[in-house]
């Protein structure tokens, strides 16, 4: 089920929009946390093809996370229109788990059923930790719970806000593979924020480069998967993107 217009709009009646709108569209989005200061997002036009893996890269403070929040519906842009599916899910930077609830309860609290919870926990290899509190989990385990919680609602659009930035290399690599595998099986659209160009090149169908609240470049990638950081094409892309940032 898709919604037309910005987040506050009512769904259009009598039209099956799923058949018409396949992409996620951001049209002329501008947002300022304080209208007296500078805009955090300026004139953003962006189209994400359904079922693709997109990564937003850019320096700190360039508006990547703000754009993600606008799509998630947790902030309302002052200008512009967002066309996005209704069932959007988010994986937050440090998991954003509720510390007073166990792993199982963290998924249950958002209204997920027992079978779906066990299925997602099992998929993310954390079923044995279901009665554990978040503070007793490692960073990687917390992020697995965060991903399981995001997936349990079967999203059409999955947003990830620098989910692996605090994890070690081995854990990050393992989670990259699992995320790619989940994405391929589910066919959902992914938009991930990352500060790592290499991570973006390993995962993305399209890399969106942001600078000072604007989209500087959209780079569709045709590199075959699995990708290698030693591949000359990979290195060439990495150099090109780093120059843009």
């Amino acid at each position: 089920m898709f919604l037309s217009g910005n987040h506050s709009c009512e769904p259009l009646k009598n039209i099956n929009l799923t058949d018409i709108i396949m992409n996620i569209e951001l049209k002329n989005i501008s947002f300022a946390y304080n209208l007296e200061t500078d805009f955090a997002l300026k004139d953003i036009f962006l189209s994400l093809k359904e079922g693709t893996f997109n990564v937003l890269v850019g320096r700190s403070g360039c508006g990547k996370s703000t754009l993600l929040r606008a799509l998630a519906g947790t902030l309302d842009p002052q200008i512009g229109e967002i066309i996005a599916p209704q069932n959007i899910s988010v994986v937050f930077q440090d998991g954003a788990l509720l510390p007073w609830l166990t792993v199982y309860e963290n998924l249950e609290v958002i209204g997920a059923g027992h079978r779906a919870i066990e299925e997602e926990l099992s998929k993310m290899k954390i079923l044995d930790f279901e009665n554990i509190y978040p503070r007793n989990l490692s960073g990687g385990q917390k992020q697995r719970v965060g991903i399981a919680r995001a997936l349990v609602v079967k999203p059409k659009l999955l947003l990830l806000d620098e989910p692996f930035s605090a994890l070690d290399t081995d854990t990050t690599r393992s989670l990259h593979q699992e995320l790619l595998s989940i994405w391929k099986k589910s066919g959902m659209t992914i938009l991930m924020v990352s500060h790592s160009v290499e991570e973006a090149l390993l995962l993305a169908d399209k890399i969106i480069v942001m600078k000072a609240g604007k989209i500087k470049e959209e780079l569709p990638l045709s590199l075959p998967r699995p990708r290698s950081e030693e591949d000359p094409n990979f290195l060439g892309f990495a150099r090109r993107i780093k120059k843009m940032i």
Partner: protein, 272 residues
């Protein structure tokens, strides 16, 4: 109180057992309350047994401390409900915050005794003595809870606050399942301070009956505060010290059986 217990089974046997709300109520509310009652009762009987005060006096002190505790408890519940609501209202938007916070600051710094003439005029003179006492205690308690909650609400991480909206929880679910548990440690800190001030104000509140005509029954506003003041007026040293000891004992027992376990529990609710 609804009992909501789930036991889930999977191929690996018992997987998940959720503690029922009834169990939580018994352990966190009824048991401490019972232990406080038993401790105070045993102490009063001990004083009576040792002949420090008469058996009748011990019984009177027990009844007085019970009445005062009830008065404080009602005032606390009122302060808690309105305190949390006012804190939520205060940080609902930057505009509301800029208006309400200075108002709260002024109201908090106004000495409670300033409201005395108004309370006497409107409550005491119409015979609503208990309402007047509870109101005066509540007005003293509430600001501790308001400011603790405002501080707590500001410290809830942005991502945690966003969880409820992203996963489309209703406003009530977001409050009940995320905001209130996240506020628990701060409510507890505010409550500790509120109760401390409540005991102080109790003695003043329970002598409100001196402002009304003698037609009122002597049992009006009966409590440990009024017993203490009466003992002082009558120069009844034994009763006076008995009342003081009873207040100290009740405060200590509440601290040991209620606040300390709750403070330990609150650790679970803190963000890393």
């Amino acid at each position: 109180m609804t009992s909501k217990s789930h036991v889930h089974y999977s191929h690996r046997g018992l997987r998940h057992h959720k503690i029922s709300n009834l169990y939580r109520f018994n352990v966190h509310v009824l048991l401490p309350f019972f232990l406080v009652l038993i401790s105070v009762f045993v102490s009063a009987k001990f004083f009576a047994f040792k002949g420090i005060i008469g058996v009748g006096d011990a019984s009177l002190l027990l009844k007085a401390v019970g009445a005062s505790f009830l008065r404080l408890f009602i005032a606390y519940i009122i302060s808690l409900v309105f305190g949390v609501a006012l804190a939520l209202l205060a940080i609902s938007s930057r505009k509301v915050e800029s208006i309400l916070l200075p108002v709260f600051d002024i109201l908090e710094s106004v000495p409670i005794l300033v409201f005395f003439p108004v309370i006497i005029l409107f409550c005491v003179s119409y015979g609503f003595l208990n309402a007047a006492a509870v109101l005066i205690i509540s007005l003293n308690m509430i600001w501790n809870i308001v400011f603790a909650c405002i501080g707590g609400l500001r410290l809830i991480p942005e991502d945690i606050a966003a969880v409820g909206r992203v996963f489309r929880l209703s406003l009530w679910q977001r409050f009940w399942k995320i905001t209130l548990p996240a506020l628990f440690p701060y409510i507890l800190t505010g409550s500790l301070l509120a109760w401390a001030e409540g005991w102080n104000m109790l003695i003043v509140a329970e002598v409100l009956k001196t402002y009304v005509s003698k037609s009122l029954a002597p049992s009006d506003l009966f409590g440990i505060g009024s017993v203490l003041v009466q003992a002082s007026v009558d120069a009844d040293t034994k009763m006076f010290f008995g009342a003081v000891i009873m207040i100290i004992l009740t405060v200590v027992v509440i601290n040991v059986f209620v606040w300390q376990p709750l403070l330990r529990t609150s650790e679970k609710y803190k963000f890393d």
